[in-house]
């Protein structure tokens, strides 16, 4: 986009092209993220209500309470802004934004469809993990600056928990990186093109197991139940958010949902085929740029819907978990990470690496439709040992 803008401007105005492109990207990302967060707030209420035999919001905006999230937002904006006397005022104020910004910044490198990405980085996986991990600073600051013991307890729990779970989370993500041979999320998703059997989650038994370890670690990393210890209501009142109210509290809330969306998007891209649907019908219909730019855009849009649907299903799964399971204790959370998740993830990584050496095509790779005229022939081909190489 920078190039397109720059081509219409004098050469000395290159900085303006940069700035303009960045602004447009940020605006688009904000639209997507905030719309998703508003939707999730409503969705969480509805999902929990369905699980608990309730109706959930029904008043604001008609029968299904569609406008509940904006109504909540307005209510929170109108609330009194309270900074406790014991709080470190400056840190207390900036903590929510330190929490939200990293979660949001991670979206810069997350593609939403083939080529729909603000920053196409060669190290996108690393970038996303590193930037999203910064979120913890906001939480620790909030806990420290609140001047409340409950907040500090919550922050300490968050520090221990999130730092621990980043290790197995990253280990799990190394497997798709290895299978695709790239850290670029766009390349990783494109390497899974074709039938759903091409998805990395079905590539081999180890990647399948790694996907579920990723689900556990991602849930823990975003402080969702059963790992919601930093804000454990029955023990710590509201953990690091105890002293927050009004809009600052809402920013924490947005950060939580943004992070949840981010981990689900990454899971969809790295394991579940990204924007490639379970059936490659867009390819059959010729929705590609080689046929016509408009058709190509349409294909990308379908891919965007695919990715959104997958990640939203992931979010719903995490929500259903929250409303079903009790909370673990802090020692159990840490034991789960260091005794089970880290060794298992490491073993899966090793297993996937060995598998990749022995059967580079994966379990189903041979029966992929892309290079085979029909499943039968492909199956015969697979048995004959003509396995397709992994796409670079």
């Amino acid at each position: 986009m920078t190039d397109q803008i720059a081509s219409r401007l004098p050469e000395s105005w290159a900085w303006a092209a940069w700035a303009g492109a960045a602004l447009i990207h940020v605006a688009l990302m904000l639209c997507f993220v905030l719309a998703a967060v508003a939707f999730f707030v409503w969705l969480e209420r509805k999902v929990s209500a369905r699980i608990q035999d309730r109706l959930g919001p029904t008043r604001v905006g008609g029968r299904f309470g569609w406008l509940q999230s904006p109504a909540d937002g307005i209510k929170l904006l109108c609330k009194e802004d309270i900074i406790p006397a014991a709080a470190d005022s400056f840190l207390f104020r900036i903590a929510p934004y330190l929490c939200f910004c990293p979660a949001f910044a991670a979206f810069a490198a997350i593609p939403l469809a083939d080529g729909w990405v603000a920053l196409r980085l060669d190290i996108a996986v690393l970038f996303v993990l590193a930037v999203a991990g910064m979120e913890i600073f906001g939480v620790i600051l909030a806990g420290y600056a609140s001047g409340s013991k409950y907040s500090l307890f919550g922050a300490m729990r968050e520090a221990a928990q999130v730092v621990s779970y980043e290790a197995p989370l990253a280990l799990c993500l190394v497997i798709p990186v290895m299978l695709a041979g790239s850290m670029d999320l766009t390349t990783i998703a494109n390497a899974q093109e074709g039938w759903f059997t091409q998805w990395f989650v079905f590539h081999n038994p180890f990647s399948f197991a790694a996907f579920w370890i990723y689900v556990v670690c991602a849930t823990a990393n975003t402080n969702r139940a059963p790992f919601d210890l930093p804000e454990a209501e029955s023990e710590l009142v509201a953990g690091f958010m105890t002293e927050y109210s009004g809009f600052r509290w809402a920013v924490f809330f947005m950060a939580e949902y943004t992070a949840m969306l981010a981990v689900c998007l990454i899971a969809s891209i790295a394991f579940l085929g990204g924007w490639n649907g379970p059936i490659p019908w867009t390819g059959w219909l010729g929705l590609s740029y080689s046929v016509h730019p408009a058709l190509g855009f349409l294909g990308d849009f379908v891919g965007f819907l695919n990715l959104t649907a997958k990640s939203f299903l992931g979010v719903i799964f995490i929500m259903a978990l929250r409303w079903t399971l009790p909370r673990l204790r802090i020692d159990q959370v840490m034991a789960m990470c260091w005794k089970y998740c880290v060794p298992l993830a490491a073993a899966m990584l090793l297993g996937a690496a060995v598998w990749l050496c022995l059967f580079p095509g994966g379990v189903f790779r041979g029966v992929g439709l892309r290079n085979a005229p029909s499943p039968t022939v492909a199956a015969v081909g697979a048995f004959a040992g003509e396995r397709e190489q992994v796409q670079p």
Binding site: E233, S234, E235, L236, L325, P326, Q332
Partner: protein
């Protein structure tokens, strides 16, 4: 600790113990209990309970009102089991007066009290889930409790503060068709217990959080005066419905039910409920929870029997006494098996309508007293689990 080599950098990081004030406004202290915890990080080294935030001088009020006028105040002692509180005072007064109600009244009282026990245990068992961070079982059990409250509303006009069982009898006979609706509720409710077991009792996280936590030995339970499910969870099969005084025990004479307690680690009946997990120790939080869940089943059986016996018995239901009916001089003390434990009422009368002295023995008070012992050396999160498993009601403790 100073650094080994140079003194330029100070490595001395303060690791003091903290005093953490939990309550009286805290989500998991069940009302207005205040706990002060001395914590070393997440580890609780000391715990002290402070009570009295809900003190309403119920006993003193009882010395200025006649027993019938005092019945509405008993509703507010253990506000989750108003019927059982009504019955406690009523039987104490009737013991003093030497009064025996009719058969039909007896069965109706058993019916109301056991239905109320189901409601109370539902709240207890599922607020345990809430304290462990599981919100759904709480809503599910409140959905069922709501149906009991609707039945009670139809029976006596109140949902929470019934004042139904009063000295002399009960305030009203059952409305038409009420018994059928009651049976329909029980039929519908029985399968729900399995759902609650699936969400809580046999959930692995729930077992990890509850089993082996807050172990109270039978000796300690007796020494601290614990009663009810807390005592029975420690393996002591004592239930005043079988072991109480004749005037109370007699109410349940022709009823069949089991006393639920893990005597020698085994529960008495052959039930098809989740097995005891290997991690569970008799007297821990899990057993206290499990005892309540199984008692709900027993109470369902009791309600069914009460309905059948009520239908068979002839005669009419006794009306309440006159409000200012004089009491015979003397004193009477009677303990009954309330859902939380043994609830005692002590009445001293000088022959007038108003008792000269009225004292109440609260089961939650004794049950709470073990919290300081159980919460030593546990983690912060376990405090919520232990307090929840003790199932205290502050209205009864503070009186």
């Amino acid at each position: 600790m100073n650094s080994p080599s140079n003194g330029a950098i100070e490595y001395d990081v303060g690791t003091d113990q903290w005093v953490l004030n939990m309550g009286p406004q805290h989500p998991s202290t069940h009302g207005v209990l205040r706990l002060t915890l001395r914590t070393d990080g997440e580890l609780v080294t000391e715990c002290a309970a402070h009570i009295g935030y809900l003190h309403r001088s119920a006993e003193k009020i009882g010395e200025n009102l006649t027993p019938r006028q005092f019945i509405p105040f008993t509703d507010r002692l253990d506000y989750l089991a108003g019927m059982n509180m009504n019955l406690g005072l009523t039987l104490a007064v009737e013991k003093l007066a030497g009064f025996t109600p009719s058969e039909k009244t007896r069965h109706l009282r058993v019916l109301a009290v056991e239905l109320c026990r189901i409601a109370s245990h539902l709240v207890a068992a599922c607020s345990t889930g809430l304290d462990l961070g599981s919100f759904t079982p709480f809503m599910w059990s409140f959905r069922e409790r709501e149906k009991i409250q609707l039945l009670f509303e139809e029976l006596c006009g109140a949902r929470l503060t019934y004042s139904y069982i009063t000295p002399g009898g009960v305030t009203a006979d059952v409305p038409e068709g009420w018994l059928d609706r009651c049976e329909a509720f029980l039929d519908q409710f029985e399968p729900v217990i399995d759902e609650l077991h699936a969400l809580l009792t046999s959930n692995r996280i729930f077992i990890q959080r509850m089993a082996g936590i807050g172990v109270l030995s039978a000796e300690d339970a007796i020494a601290y005066g614990c009663t009810g499910p807390v005592l029975r969870g420690s393996g002591v099969a004592r239930d005043l419905r079988r072991h109480g005084e004749p005037i109370y025990r007699g109410m349940y004479d022709d009823y069949r039910f089991e006393i639920i307690a893990p005597v020698n680690g085994c529960y008495p009946q052959d039930h098809d409920y989740p097995p005891v997990p290997p991690q569970a120790v008799v007297g821990d939080s899990w057993h206290r929870f499990y005892v309540r869940m199984l008692e709900v089943v027993q109470s369902i059986g009791l309600v069914r029997q009460a309905i059948a016996k009520y239908r068979q018995s002839s005669g009419s239901v006794d009306p309440p006494w006159q409000v200012k009916q004089k009491l015979p001089p003397g004193e009477a003390y009677l303990e009954t098996e309330a859902p939380k434990g043994q609830m005692g009422f002590f009445i001293v009368s000088d022959g007038s309508a108003v008792p000269w002295r009225l004292r109440i023995r609260s089961s939650s008070f004794s049950n709470l007293s073990v919290v300081e012992k159980l919460c030593r050396g546990v983690l912060l999160a376990d405090v919520a689990a232990i307090v929840a498993s003790l199932d205290i009601v502050l209205g009864e403790i503070d009186r």
